[in-house]
């Protein structure tokens, strides 16, 4: 029914001018080796912001931990980063498990974000120190022994971070080896790249183990992430709100996280197209395909919120009413509705149109709106919880006022996020930011053929 092979001349699919493994490797590695003045300038700027963040952090440290409400914005930043940046490996693992071919060019981008996991794990003890004691308030630990919540939270976050790193490293090995073989001997990076490549030579056995390990680690990451998010929101949000009983909320937080993770992926792909010149890799196809789950998640954002809202509104127990008043309709109304528009209404109205989804600017703008909304939303959730004066009440009464950020808080928010971006940029110069072997594998599995007088793509079903 088809007219037979057309060979490599028509064999390339989405990547213009990059037909073979060698082409891809050459192109990615040349971009990877180059360190432009623009890149340096960005590093400098982000570095300054990060140092300012540290200044803010030290200012807060000087105030001490007696008043937990001082730390609301710090925890909000932590939560934003933990949810957004650490949701990224889920995107890669999930798409790998469902064998989506369009994932190939950007999986490395999202896996490189796993590096923030280590940074965040180091910050978790600080946030834990700001928590009021467990006695007399809601908590998920039920008199669990051995230093709950501190020790166990730290272990949970650590496990997640290490799994993410292991996933990143497993999937980066072949490309690290490629970098090792092609970096000039003078390069300062060569030492660390060689060490990280760990003598990978690409034998059949190594590939088989690598493939298995990637699947298993991806599955473990997928399973761990919701549990870690549950601990995060149980300890830092739900446990601090008197009378709050919102069983859906950990799942809601996972939806928030995945949504802003995809938003950040869009932003990163756009930035790398603009500034890194990776236009052949991040094409409309990637934006278009990823915009569909982004639309679905925008609807889920509403759905999960509504599921709590309708139960609270209808049930009307005093504690339901207080929660509703505090988080949605009272002091935190403006942040809530801002996030409602940025995360649900705006994306929904924009993304139901195929022409918007099938573009580069559309998903990027929506992604930016989502990430911004997620930051505001996490701020609302965490700061509101830390702003409650008495955590031992049964019902939130009276309803406390909203708490606006001080200068150190703003520095922490900006500095924290800048630090993560900085880290990502540094990592991209150690691990090639596009997965050479995955893209090349895609080139082998997709062919362009003639079918009844038209050009079609033939996609192999890999195992």
């Amino acid at each position: 029914m088809h007219n037979g092979e057309h060979g490599h001349s028509a064999g390339e699919y989405a990547l213009e001018g990059l037909a073979t493994h060698a082409d891809v490797a050459k192109d990615v590695l040349s971009r990877y080796q180059e360190v432009t003045p623009r890149y340096r300038a960005w590093l400098m700027a982000l570095g300054v912001l990060f140092i300012l963040g540290i200044v803010g952090f030290i200012l807060r440290l000087m105030d001490g931990f007696e008043d937990g409400s001082n730390w609301g914005y710090f925890v909000a930043t932590l939560s934003f980063i933990l949810s957004t940046f650490m949701a990224m490996p889920i995107i890669s693992a999930g798409l790998r498990l469902t064998k989506a071919n369009w994932r190939r060019p950007f999986t490395r981008v999202v896996e490189n974000m796993a590096i923030t996991g280590v940074l965040m794990t180091l910050m978790v003890p600080v946030a834990l120190a700001a928590l009021p004691p467990l006695e007399g308030r809601l908590n998920i630990w039920f008199d669990f022994p051995l230093g709950a919540p501190g020790v166990w939270d730290f272990i949970a976050y650590g496990t997640l971070a290490l799994t993410g790193l292991a996933l990143l490293w497993t999937l980066a090995l072949p490309d690290l080896a490629a970098a090792r073989d092609h970096l000039p001997a003078s390069s300062a990076r060569l030492g660390i790249v060689r060490w990280l490549a760990a003598g990978w030579e690409g034998s059949l056995r190594q590939w088989r183990v690598q493939r298995q390990a990637a699947l298993v680690l991806g599955a473990v990451y997928l399973l761990t992430y919701p549990l870690v998010q549950t601990l995060m929101v149980a300890d830092f949000h739900l446990g601090l709100l008197p009378g709050s009983k919102d069983a859906i909320f950990p799942a809601t937080q996972v939806v928030y996280a995945l949504q802003s993770g995809i938003g950040l992926t869009m932003m990163t792909m756009f930035a790398m197209r603009r500034m890194g010149g990776y236009t052949q890799y991040f094409t409309v196809e990637q934006f278009w395909a990823l915009a569909k789950p982004m639309l679905a998640l925008a609807m889920l954002w509403f759905y999960f919120w509504w599921a709590s809202f309708i139960s609270f509104w209808y049930g009307r127990e005093p504690r339901d009413v207080a929660t509703l008043q505090y988080l949605f309709l009272g002091p935190w109304m403006i942040p809530f509705f801002t996030s409602f528009i940025l995360n649900f209404l705006g994306p929904l109205i924009a993304l139901i149109w195929n022409p918007v989804r099938r573009s580069i600017w559309g998903p990027t703008i929506v992604g930016t709106s989502i990430v911004l909304g997620a930051l505001i939303n996490q701020t609302r959730l965490m700061v509101s919880a830390f702003a409650v004066p008495d955590h031992s009440q049964h019902v939130l009464n009276p309803i406390p006022p909203a708490q606006w950020p001080g200068v150190p808080d703003l520095l922490i928010v900006v500095g924290g996020i800048s630090g993560c971006v900085l880290l990502f940029m540094l990592v991209s110069k150690i691990i090639p930011p596009v997965s050479i072997f995955e893209v090349a594998e895609g080139l082998r599995l997709v062919k362009v053929r003639r079918f009844l007088g038209r050009t079609v793509r033939v996609i192999a079903k890999s195992h």
Partner: protein
């Protein structure tokens, strides 16, 4: 390999229209037997109408029992149809082709069955149409839209209408096939139903678009239906019902039981209708992988429900879980529910051998549904029968023979309707299979030939 067999259109017609164009003996026997069971169910319902609800095992404080459990169970089963066909259509998964119609049809019939349950469970069912249809214009009083019991019929009727239209739209090309293969009055009837279908590019293009567009529109309805059913419980003040997680928990539970039911149905269909050419190990394997994901998501929500029940350390909530987990007979029902619904099947599905064995998959998917029926029962009854603050009605619930007959009969009813449907319409979409045949291809990678499919650019 994926598509190893290449079938001609004539062969597809012949094999898939087997029961439509002729009537095998097993069909007559099976339909007759199921018809007897359905008749038994109808007489049980008639007896109940005649005698009143005193013939059930219900009392106080357990006002809802097997009927509402069964209602939720069948709404749950109905979620598979859309789950399979809409999601897989949107993601253009090739392995959807043999299962979409069977799943959608099961949606329609199980929804009808579930709709029957709240109607017969009401105290005065003959007045129930007041509920669904606005009544009493003279005094200007209509159903109270604030009640979740008005949301329910709205959602279910929306879902039933949508899925029936969905089935019918995709059936039109196949009706044309039957029209062309039949004679006499059948030809006239199928001709009318086929609406004069020719199969020109315009019609095919719109048929394709209809699949995508209707899938995209039905998906949000599908999520809303079971959520609305769950809000019957979560908006109430009953301890262990007033839980915010119920909506997604119910939906994912419904998908778990519904997709399992599709597996059961596919395997039985394959055997009965001799569809070995269409339903392969690969299909069941793919659904089983999907089921692993669904089951684990379900477990996460179940865990959230459990943890947040204990979260406030409230006496009443604890009493419910105490009853569910530690007091007979609920404790062993709980054990059965968890082993059958999760602990046995999910680890088994991890093995490729199990996923590719029709026998194993038949039994594992069957026990999932047994477990999920118990899950719904455990959500409803212990929450009402708990040892609450009022000692005068610390009482439990035991279903009466009438209720058990109706539950058993409802399984027969859905099977009976599916069998009837299969007599008049093909359960596997002919045109989807024919289209699938067009897209079979192969790619050579080194020394190996990998099966492939053609995708539009």
């Amino acid at each position: 390999m994926y598509y190893r067999r290449t079938l001609t259109e004539a062969q597809i017609n012949r094999e898939l229209l087997g029961t439509v164009l002729s009537t095998p003996l097993w069909w007559v026997v099976l339909t007759g037997l199921l018809g007897i069971v359905v008749a038994g169910m109808l007489s049980a319902i008639g007896f109940m109408f005649n005698q009143g609800l005193k013939v059930t095992g219900l009392g106080e404080p357990v006002f809802w029992g097997f009927f509402i459990t069964n209602f939720i169970f069948w709404v749950g089963i109905s979620h598979a149809g859309v789950m399979i066909s809409a999601i897989l259509r949107l993601s253009q998964a090739e392995w959807r082709r043999p299962m979409v119609r069977a799943a959608e049809t099961m949606t329609v019939f199980s929804l009808m069955c579930s709709l029957l349950m709240p109607l017969i469970h009401a105290g005065r069912p003959w007045r129930i149409f007041y509920w669904v249809f606005p009544y009493d214009w003279a005094r200007g009083i209509w159903p109270d839209v604030r009640s979740p019991l008005v949301w329910d019929p709205t959602a279910i009727i929306t879902y039933l209408t949508s899925s029936s239209l969905f089935v019918y739209t995709a059936l039109i090309p196949d009706l044309a096939v039957i029209r062309d293969r039949s004679t006499g009055w059948r030809r006239t009837v199928y001709g009318i139903l086929a609406l004069g279908w020719h199969g020109n590019p315009r019609q095919w293009k719109l048929q394709g678009l209809a699949g995508i567009l209707l899938s995209a529109l039905i998906l949000p309805v599908f999520v809303s239906v079971h959520s609305i059913v769950s809000w019957d419980f979560s908006v109430s003040l009953v301890p262990a019902w007033h839980v915010t997680v119920f909506a997604p928990y119910f939906v994912i539970g419904a998908v778990h039981s519904g997709v399992s039911a599709v597996v059961t149905l596919m395997i039985i269909m394959r055997k009965l209708y001799k569809l070995e050419n269409y339903i392969w190990e690969e299909h069941i394997d793919a659904v089983a992988r999907l089921l692993i994901v669904v089951a684990n998501t379900w477990l996460f929500f179940f865990w959230l429900d459990l943890v947040w029940a204990l979260w406030l350390k409230e006496e009443q909530e604890m009493a419910v879980w105490q009853l569910r987990m530690f007091e007979a007979p609920w404790s062993w029902l709980f054990f059965l529910f968890f082993t059958l619904g999760y602990a046995i099947p999910v680890p088994l599905w991890m093995f490729r051998k199990v996923r590719r064995s029709f026998t194993w998959m038949l039994w594992t998917s069957l026990i999932v549904n047994f477990g999920m029926f118990l899950e719904r029962l455990l959500i409803i009854v212990p929450s009402l029968a708990k040892r609450g603050p009022w000692v005068f009605d610390w009482a439990s619930y035991r279903p009466s023979p009438v209720e058990i007959t109706v539950i058993g009969g409802s399984v027969a009813l859905v099977s009976f309707l599916l069998l009837l449907f299969s007599k008049f319409f093909p359960l596997i979409p002919l045109w989807e299979e024919k289209e699938g045949q067009l897209f079979i291809d192969e790619i050579k990678v080194g020394a190996r030939v990998v099966p492939a499919i053609v995708k539009e650019h």
